[in-house]
């Protein structure tokens, strides 16, 4: 059995679901950020896999993946900086306690 597109997509979907679960269920803001990172990478796997298996002649998918990785890096940098500021400000990184925007 050779490894085809379906396997990559399944892997990406699982990774995405795990990341989503982390984002929705973790109370630690760092863990939430990590979940987001997993979701991003799931998308990257999709892009690269499609580029490999679909009839695309140039490297569009791979370029997109590279671009997404750069964006992800920036996002992590800002996200962690924000988390740091929030920790300094509130002395907590528990998202349950960060509910100032409550209506």
């Amino acid at each position: 059995m050779s490894i085809g597109l379906t396997h990559y997509l399944l892997l990406a979907a699982m990774l995405f679901a795990i990341g989503m679960f982390g984002v929705l269920s973790k109370r630690n803001i760092i863990a939430v950020l990590m979940g987001i990172e997993l979701m991003l990478n799931a998308v990257n796997i999709n892009l690269v896999a499609f580029n490999r298996f679909m009839p695309v002649h140039d490297l569009t998918g791979q370029l997109m993946a590279l671009f997404a990785i750069v964006v992800g890096v920036a996002e992590v940098a800002i996200g962690i900086a924000l988390a740091f500021r929030i920790y300094r400000d509130r002395n907590t990184i528990n998202v349950d306690e960060l509910n100032r925007m409550k209506g």
Partner: protein, 636 residues
């Protein structure tokens, strides 16, 4: 030469006082003397122009049948063209003379009377506007122009009656005058609208042609309603029963204003309207009967009140109502001539009586009760003489002015209805009595209040000159107009040449003399005790003294209706109008309270909802995917 100029420029007559109002109101108000000078000079020019117009009318061929008309288009609404302009016939000329003369003299008088009042400039501004409005009304070419100035007159009366606005009674009187006449104006407006609907025009000259044709073809039916509605306006403005209640209270204004209102610029507007629209009223016998009887009733009703009143201006106010009733009676019996003759003589002697009363009150430090005066004839000989002439004139003693005009009214009434004649004669008797009472109590006998008496003094020249001029007019205007053929000149239809009915003239003169003698016996010789008489006539005296409780009845009715309606409306407002608004508010609040827990500030729960939404959309997409594919025609 000047006469022609005056006739061509008659529109200046109302415009000049109006300009004076604007100048005083906007520029010179704080300079009292200057304002007075402007007002008096403007009204003097108006007066001269009015003289010119009158001479031109007398000299030229301008008669009631062939008036002089100038008009300009005022505005259009759809196909309705309304013009504004000048209509001059002998009726107008006479009114112009009366109004300009009286208002000029009143303004001169006011220069002295209002001395030292902080509102000196304001007063002259309002007086000017008042005169201007009335002159505009007199010159009107159609009902709408008349209505426009009619309302302006009402506004001015409001401003002037409430001139001492810091006095509660003055404010109340001003409101009362405005609202009472407004009741009448409403009827008038309805009448005017119906006229426009029926005839398609409001122009007096056109209506004069159209009305007889209409009556000939269609009968009087609907026109009677219109005429009655129109007549409601004069009932309010000219103080006829039952809308007379504002007129006695109108004395809250400064006395020159009372003179102006009672003599020239306000109450005669109603009589003038009926006279101007006489081509309409005279076609409708039913309406004429109403006018005659209402006038007759008002005359005797007001006279019976005047007999027992004590404040000097109140007596005069009721006598005005009574005399206006006379004029209406004369119109009702079809004698336009006698009505306007009486209007003219009455304007002169009533203005003078009011100005004399003002002089007395001025001298007595605003004391109004005649029983607190007494003996003033030695202190104020000029005023006493003027007052005596006024009383003799209004009582109808020959050869004073009132005799001639009143006699014509009596003669006209006698021809139509003996009952009305008797009513009018009794009124004449009562008039002579209460006027004599006023004169004797205030000027004869011993001073009732020594301190005020010592303070009293004859008035200054500004106030004395108008009194003298009006005295002369009160003496000569009657006989002069009678000799000069007033009935040829101011008339409706063919002139009535009757000459003097000696029977009627003799009776009324005799009765007037008896009334004067009676008053002398009671109030000067004191052969009969006035208080004992009052005691004896208990109920009647009380009724008369309390003005037949008309004010109280109105107050109770208004309280009942207005308060009752207000209660109902209040309930509707609180429970229904507010209820709807509150219910809407409550609904919004309830829904918000239901939804607000969803916004809990937890980003994760928002993300969860978002995920749920995406899943729902995806499910929807998958479910309909086949249809979508089919729609796209199998492109994938």
């Amino acid at each position: 030469m000047f006469n022609e100029f005056a006739l061509e420029h008659a529109w200046l007559i109302p415009l000049l006082p109006a300009i004076s109002f604007v100048i005083i109101g906007m520029v010179t108000r704080s300079y009292g003397k200057l304002s007075a000078a402007i007002a008096v000079s403007m009204s003097t020019i108006s007066f001269l122009l009015a003289v010119g117009v009158t001479l031109a009318v007398v000299a030229g061929n301008i008669t009631v049948d062939a008036p002089f008309v100038q008009k300009l288009s005022w505005f259009h609404i759809g196909s309705v063209n309304i013009s504004m302009g000048v209509l001059i016939d002998p009726l107008t000329a006479m009114m112009l003379m009366v109004v300009t003369t009286v208002s000029m003299l009143v303004q001169i008088y006011s220069c002295g009377y209002m001395e030292g009042d902080p509102g000196y400039g304001r007063f002259f501004a309002f007086l000017s506007l008042f005169a201007g409005s009335m002159l505009g009304l007199v010159l009107a070419v159609n009902f709408l122009q008349m209505y426009f100035f009619w309302e302006l007159v009402g506004l001015c009366s409001y401003l002037l009656i409430g001139f001492y606005y810091y006095k509660i009674s003055a404010r109340e009187a001003a409101k009362k005058a405005f609202m009472t006449t407004r009741v009448g104006d409403f009827g008038l407006l309805l009448g005017i609208l119906l006229l426009q609907l029926t005839f398609g025009t409001l122009d007096f000259m056109e209506l004069q042609q159209l009305v007889p044709i209409y009556v000939m073809h269609g009968g009087a039916g609907f026109l009677t309603i219109i005429a009655l509605l129109l007549f409601v306006g004069p009932i309010g403005k000219s103080g006829q029963f039952p809308l007379h209640v504002w007129l006695p209270d109108a004395m809250e204004g400064p006395t020159p204003v009372s003179a102006l209102i009672h003599a020239a610029t306000m109450v005669v507007a109603g009589v003038y309207l009926v006279g101007r629209a006489f081509f309409l009223f005279s076609q409708l016998p039913a309406v004429m009967t109403v006018i005659a009887w209402l006038g007759g009733f008002t005359a005797i009703f007001a006279a019976s009140i005047a007999i027992t009143q004590r404040p000097i201006k109140r007596i005069l106010a009721y006598s005005t109502i009574s005399q206006l009733g006379y004029m209406m009676l004369a119109l009702g019996v079809g004698s336009l001539t006698s009505s306007f003759f009486h209007l003219m003589t009455h304007a002169f002697f009533k203005a003078m009586l009011f100005l004399s009363a003002g002089a007395v009150m001025h001298a007595m430090a605003e004391e109004a009760d005649i029983f607190k005066m007494g003996g003033l004839r030695k202190k104020m000989p000029v005023t006493f003489a003027a007052m005596t002439i006024g009383v003799l004139a209004i009582s109808g003693i020959p050869p004073f002015a009132g005799f001639f005009s009143k006699d014509e009214i009596l003669a006209a009434a006698a021809q139509v209805s003996p009952a009305l004649y008797i009513l009018a004669t009794i009124t004449a008797f009562m008039t002579a009595f209460y006027m004599a009472r006023l004169l004797f109590v205030a000027f004869m006998g011993q001073p009732a209040n020594q301190e005020a008496y010592d303070h009293a003094h004859e008035v200054g020249w500004f106030m004395r000159v108008p009194l003298i001029v009006l005295s002369v007019l009160s003496v000569v205007s009657g006989i002069w107009a009678h000799m000069a053929g007033f009935d040829d000149w101011v008339r409706f239809g063919v002139p009535a040449h009757e000459g003097m009915n000696l029977m009627i003239a003799g009776t009324s003169t005799l009765l007037a003399v008896i009334a004067l003698a009676l008053a002398w016996k009671v109030y000067v010789a004191k052969s009969w005790n006035a208080d004992a008489l009052a005691e004896k006539w208990g109920v009647l005296y009380q009724l008369s003294f309390h003005k037949f409780y008309i004010d109280e009845i109105y107050a109770a009715l208004i309280k009942f209706f207005v308060d009752g309606i207000a209660k109902v409306l209040y309930w509707i407002d609180v429970h229904i109008v507010d209820g709807i608004v509150n219910a809407l508010g409550g609904l919004v609040r309830a829904v918000s309270e239901m939804l607000s827990p969803a916004e809990n500030g937890q980003v994760q729960s928002y993300a969860g909802v978002y995920l749920f939404g995406v899943i729902v959309l995806l499910a929807y997409g998958v479910y309909y995917a086949s249809k979508l594919m089919a729609m796209l025609g199998g492109a994938f």
